[in-house]
């Protein structure tokens, strides 16, 4: 045991060695090295943050959607701004003495020695007037920054906006590196791609004496870093189509989502009513935001991603596909249009096969299709049988992207709703429901919720005959334009691709001779495939919905149009979709007849033809 006692000297030596090392290092920085003294004597090491140029956003053809314009902030360091002629200063910047005191107090409250913004977002003229006279006012200086501006007024919801970081975010370690007064993406692409767009801030240390005059850089700029501009985004949006779609939705409420089925790239994303994105930038951001927030038509609500509606008759296509997969339906199956099961929308010939049923959008037919999937006799107990059937159905329907977040590169995507047995058990109890309770799901009413994005994705699945790519709005990030890899994975549904042609034939008939025959594109030689929907709305006029893709054999565009309170799918959504496809494929609207139609769509005077 004794020999261990010697170890006390080892430990003691470690202690003393560290003490000695620290004293030597302290002697070096305190006595030998003068640069720290110089830095302290000049009494302020001013750190000027160099804000990087935020990344720009382009449309798919390289047209600029978002750019930066310079603005100027007047900064103040309260400690240095003591000996100034306050009255003269107030005249210069055009504020009252009262305002001056308030602003200085606020700045002091943040920090006595760190710069804080005194007047923000001065424009060029104000800047020029102040800049020249600023030498008389130590402690004040101009910091140049940029704000977002928009050459076009489109895509407000997709682009989102940037705003000042909130006090709560500043406390959060996830926002490490941000400082008070910093701007960051609050919604849309600005938020989703913040880490690419923001760039890297630089910092410059300059030594300033008590009079606020620069005495050169600290340690010859050894501690300075250059700012790095943010990366640009190449979006998938087709600006021309986007603008056209927004024009069609002018004054209406609803959504348009168009997707390129071959890639999952979103061509246009309209949420109506929309707003001018430049409202949420510059000095008036706060006021305009509150105005938009209080607007009863909710222009800030991003409908394509966040509004969940019953899909209506477009859902019949999914019902048919699932029944085909389950083997309870063949393309040749006929069911009577039996009005005692459920009312049909109109009188039509006997639906002798699936094609006719889709063409005529026969409600009783799809009632029976859905029942054949749900009530298959898996159990002798009728309640249990319905449960098993519904849960099997639910698995299929989710594979179409319904009731799941698709994973679009925009924030706040909603999941939507597709019922399963648990859902109904909660409402009615375990033995409180069976098929007649839930039949309305067969025609896309009842307990269903689908976002317009999911509808457009469904159209893309039909266009691709069985798969989709995750819809996305950014094609590449940065100069080299590398594609975002997670969006190039084919996602198959649980329905075999061989079942799709029969349903697509039906969709062709819908446009040729069925409910949407006025939306035909035969005059430009394109076969449009689509399906109308008219969603019952307990609060007012029906919602008009249409999904489509074209051309039939080489689909270039798939889309969903959802117009709230416009009536049947055939009178508003279908013509709009038809116009959009024509515009996208040929760049014009051809005949005089369709031009008049276009005018009527924009003004919202929909024709009264039935569906």
């Amino acid at each position: 045991m004794k020999y261990l006692e010697g170890r006390k000297y080892v430990i003691q030596a470690i202690f003393l060695a560290i003490g000695a090392v620290y004293l030597i290092k302290l002697f070096y920085i305190q006595v030998l090295d003068d640069s720290y003294k110089t830095a302290a004597e000049s009494n302020a090491l001013r750190r000027v943050v160099q804000y990087p140029f935020r990344g720009l956003i382009y449309d798919r053809h390289g047209k600029l959607l978002v750019e930066n314009t310079p603005v100027y902030d007047l900064m103040v360091v309260p400690k240095e701004a003591k000996a100034i002629d306050t009255l003269k200063f107030c005249q210069l910047v055009g504020i009252t003495l009262q305002e001056y005191r308030e602003k200085i107090t606020a700045a002091k409250k943040y920090s006595y020695v760190k710069p804080s913004p005194f007047l923000q977002r001065l424009n060029n003229i104000e800047f020029a007037a102040i800049q020249d006279n600023l030498v008389d006012f130590p402690g004040f200086y101009i910091n140049a920054r940029t704000v977002r501006s928009y050459p076009h007024k489109s895509l407000s919801h997709g682009l989102g906006y940037i705003g000042e970081i909130s006090p709560r975010q500043l406390e959060d370690t996830a926002y490490h590196g941000y400082r008070q007064g910093d701007y960051l993406g609050i919604s849309g692409l600005e938020r989703e791609y913040e880490k690419y767009l923001m760039g890297k801030r630089g910092v410059k240390y300059t030594m300033v004496n008590v009079r606020g005059i620069e005495k050169g850089s600290f340690k010859n700029g050894a501690y300075d870093t250059l700012s790095e501009a943010g990366q640009n985004l190449m979006s998938t949006i087709d600006l021309k189509l986007q603008e056209y779609a927004e024009k069609l939705m002018e004054g209406k409420t609803g959504s348009i989502v168009a997707i390129e089925p071959k890639t999952g790239e979103i061509l246009s994303l309209v949420s109506a009513p929309y707003y001018d994105p430049s409202l949420l930038t510059g000095k008036e951001l706060g006021n305009n935001y509150m105005k938009l927030l209080r607007d009863p038509v909710k222009p800030l609500f991003n409908r394509p991603l966040m509004a969940t509606y019953p899909p209506g008759s477009i859902f019949k296509l999914a019902q048919a596909l699932i029944a085909l997969q389950e083997g309870t339906l063949t393309p040749e199956t006929g069911y009577p249009c039996n009005w005692s099961l459920v009312r049909c929308s109109h009188r039509h010939p006997y639906p002798a096969n699936l094609g006719i049923a889709i063409e005529q959008s026969c409600n009783p037919y799809f009632y029976q299709v859905f029942r054949s999937v749900v009530s298959r006799g898996r159990s002798s107990n009728v309640y249990k049988d319905t449960k098993l059937g519904l849960d099997a159905w639910n698995k299929h329907i989710k594979s179409f992207g319904f009731a799941t977040k698709l994973g679009i590169d925009l924030p706040n995507e909603k999941r939507g709703l597709m019922p399963n047995s648990q859902f109904y058990d909660k409402i009615y109890g375990a033995t409180g429901w069976k098929f007649p309770t839930i039949y309305s799901v067969s025609i896309g009413q009842g307990e269903t919720g689908v976002t317009p994005l999911q509808m457009a994705n469904f159209a893309a699945i039909l266009a691709n005959r069985g798969y989709y790519y995750t819809p996305h709005i950014v094609r590449s990030v940065g100069e080299n334009g590398k594609q975002v890899p997670e969006y190039s994975v084919k996602q198959y549904t649980s329905v075999d691709p061989r079942h799709f042609p029969a349903v697509v034939e039906g969709m062709q008939k819908v446009v040729e001779t069925g409910t949407a025959r006025f939306a035909r594109l035969s005059h430009i030689g394109v076969i449009l495939c689509g399906k109308t929907g008219t969603v019952q709305n307990p609060h007012g006029k029906d919602h008009s919905v249409f999904i489509a893709f074209a051309p039939k054999d080489d689909p270039k565009i798939a889309l969903a149009v959802y117009v709230e309170n416009a009536g049947s799918g055939a009178i508003a959504a279908a013509p709009m979709a038809s116009l959009l496809v024509e515009k996208y494929l040929t760049d014009t609207i051809k005949t005089a007849y369709r031009k008049r139609w276009e005018h009527d769509m924009i003004t919202g005077s929909f024709y009264k033809w039935g569906d």
């Binding site: 006390k8 004293l23 302290l26 830095a39 302290a40 006595y112 020695v113 801030r201 910092v203």
Partner: protein, 424 residues
């Protein structure tokens, strides 16, 4: 117990004197740190940290009296009880506390009174470890006992890391010094030192170059001394592989395990340009404050850099900046000398204990105080990563002052009765 035994005669008044001096100097520097020449307030003003610290000091005196009043045998016999009680509170805090700045480590008693149980885990663990040590023989290669000991010392820091208070958890590494005194293989200390050395090297040199350099040097050494050392060839190759593994795992650890702000705190040691808006700025400002103090300093309350917020956390973690700026190198010398004196005295006190329990506990106290000294002063002068742990007896903060007071005075209470202890 003999009633004639007077503990006052056996109390170690040297340590108490050092303690009182340090706490008083700390209090005055806290005042200097929060002192605002535009708005002069009294050192007793309770709305400022200096006034609050005085309250913490006052309560510490009460704690000290209580610690002497308790039967000294209780520290030994209740060691495990205290330990598990603190573990329970740590777990409770982890689960129940609402996060403050991303860390679930605070027990909020009132709006202005918050305690950090992690601080109290130090003395509790020291007690438990010492108790365990007194019941085993560390040098006997009983891996079960060694594992139990390691478990006792590692459980609290693991919980504390889960609370996201990595800095406080690191302190528990200090126990290795106490273990070393009681017979732990010196190899572990040497490996630790080599690890730190390699760690610093990996910051300076890219990992593949470093691996290359090590391999070449090793190869040259083996080649030149081949005949002499060929018997131990496998040992040398083993060392070589171990160092390489260390190199790559350190880089992996820094880049993949640590969060970005933690990476920056380490990288700033060799490159002040890392994170110039965050921790890089703090270290630069801290060095300017200390460096501007010169030989004699600017004088009490005359500092310019440590006022306001050039330096962050001036009255807590960066309190040493105030000392350095206002009292210069002489002030730094006094503070460092005080710590060296206290540590030497604690070792002296520890060595005169008759029980293994008392001695081990003494070394635990010395090691913990030393670790805080090492990291806290080191970070203010750019020699240690920025880890938010306080400078014992100087930094503002109730939890910290209380915990160091308890830590130190349990030792003095045990020491005051050392003549009653027959040793084991």
């Amino acid at each position: 117990m003999r009633t004639s035994y007077k503990i006052t005669q056996n109390i170690d008044w040297v340590t108490i004197g050092l303690y009182a001096l340090m706490v008083t100097l700390g209090w005055m520097n806290i005042y200097a740190a929060v002192y605002n020449p535009e708005n002069i307030t009294s050192i007793f003003d309770f709305s400022l940290n200096s006034g609050k610290q005085l309250a913490w000091i006052g309560t510490s005196v009460v704690i000290i009296i209580m610690l002497f009043a308790i039967d000294y045998k209780a520290y030994d016999s209740l060691a495990y009880g205290i330990y598990w009680f603190v573990i329970l509170i740590l777990l409770g805090t982890l689960v129940l506390a609402s996060p403050i700045k991303g860390s679930r480590s605070w027990l909020v008693i009132t709006e202005s009174v918050r305690l950090q149980p992690a601080e109290f885990a130090k003395f509790a663990t020291a007690l438990a470890v010492s108790r365990f040590m007194s019941s085993i023989n560390l040098r006997q290669q009983n891996w079960k006992d060694q594992a139990k000991l390691a478990g006792l010392a590692l459980l609290p820091p693991i919980i504390i890391i889960l609370q996201n208070e990595t800095g406080s958890a690191l302190v528990f590494a200090a126990f290795t010094l106490a273990f070393f005194r009681e017979g732990m293989s010196p190899l572990i200390l040497i490996i630790g030192a080599v690890a730190v050395f390699v760690f610093v090297l990996t910051l300076l040199i890219p990992q593949w170059y470093l691996a290359g350099i090590i391999t070449v040097l090793m190869g040259l050494y083996l080649w030149m001394n081949y005949h002499r050392i060929k018997r131990y060839l496998s040992t040398y190759v083993g060392i070589w592989v171990a160092v390489l593994i260390m190199v790559f795992s350190v880089t992996y650890f820094i880049d993949n395990v640590l969060q970005e702000h933690q990476q920056n705190r380490i990288k700033v040691l060799v490159d002040p340009e890392v994170d110039p808006l965050g921790v890089g700025w703090n270290v630069t400002q801290s060095k300017i404050a200390i460096g501007s103090g010169g030989f004699f300093g600017k004088g009490f309350l005359e500092g310019t850099q440590t006022k306001f917020d050039f330096v962050p956390e001036q009255s807590t973690d960066f309190i040493f900046c105030t000392v350095g700026e206002e009292h210069g190198w002489v002030g730094s010398l006094i503070i460092i000398a005080l710590f060296m004196g206290l540590l030497t005295r604690i070792i002296f006190v520890a060595e005169r204990q008759r029980s293994v329990f008392g001695r081990t506990y003494g070394y635990c106290v010395a090691s913990i105080i030393f670790f805080h000294f090492l990291v806290n002063i080191g970070m203010t002068i750019g020699l240690a990563p920025v880890v938010g742990i306080p400078l014992p007896f100087f930094s503002y903060g109730g939890s910290s002052l209380w915990s160091f007071t308890i830590l130190l005075f349990i030792l003095l209470a045990i020491d005051a009765h050392r003549k009653l202890d027959l040793g084991r």
